[in-house]
């Protein structure tokens, strides 16, 4: 039994592109800003963010249509990345992201 009408499902799927684009763009900019000294765990972190930003819009092709909860989660992730902008001021990785 489907919880949402087809039109709402499509709308949520399209609306999810917005936070996914934000996540993808911010992650790409920060990956570009990374130096050799940036810890591998931080590179993995932003690679996973890009993976999420790619997987959510492509999910419907595997039958995984985003729900309102999915939309809330990716939107929250986009907000988190936006809020951490001061730490990456001037496109420079923060000290905490560097190798120990």
């Amino acid at each position: 039994m489907t919880m949402f009408a087809f039109s709402e499902t499509n709308t949520i799927a399209v609306l999810s592109w917005v936070p996914c684009l934000v996540i993808g763009f911010i992650s790409l900019c920060r990956l570009n800003a990374m130096t050799e000294r940036v810890a591998f765990r931080v590179r993995i972190e932003y690679s996973i963010y890009i993976g999420i930003a790619t997987l959510v819009p492509l999910g419907p092709f595997m039958g995984e249509w985003p729900t309102p909860l999915t939309f809330l989660i990716v939107s929250g992730l986009a907000v988190i990345l936006l809020c951490s902008q001061p730490a990456w001021h001037d496109d420079r990785p923060p000290l905490v992201a560097m190798e120990d």
């Binding site: 799927a13 932003y46 890009i50 492509l58 419907p60």
Partner: protein, 131 residues
Amino acid sequence: MDGPPNLIDVVGLGVIVAGFFYSPATAAVIGPYIVIIMASVVGASFAVARRERTTRAGAVLYFVRSSGIAILLTGMIASVLAAHYQGVNERILIAPVALLLGSVGDDWGKVLRRLQSFVFSLLDLMRKDEK
């Protein structure tokens, strides 16, 4: 038209846009490539992190180029490897091959030089065995 957009208009727009993107014709093309796209994109992100910092537009182009090359070559390379190694299924290979190809980025010269020196080392080893 006065006033803020109606919720129905937004829903209608979502239906139209989704109808173009999520159409069966698009699914037929993209569907089989989803795993390749995912792995290529993750691999390309490592390539972006590895390179020298450039402009944002440069980073986006580099990312699209790296993942694009990986998406184009993965199927072919996975097929060749699966044909060579009988016990390995092509479907198992596409994700790691896409990940590796995406992570190469623009360093094809380095990769090919290392491959060349590896092949020459193997040939030297075989010649020593023959003697």
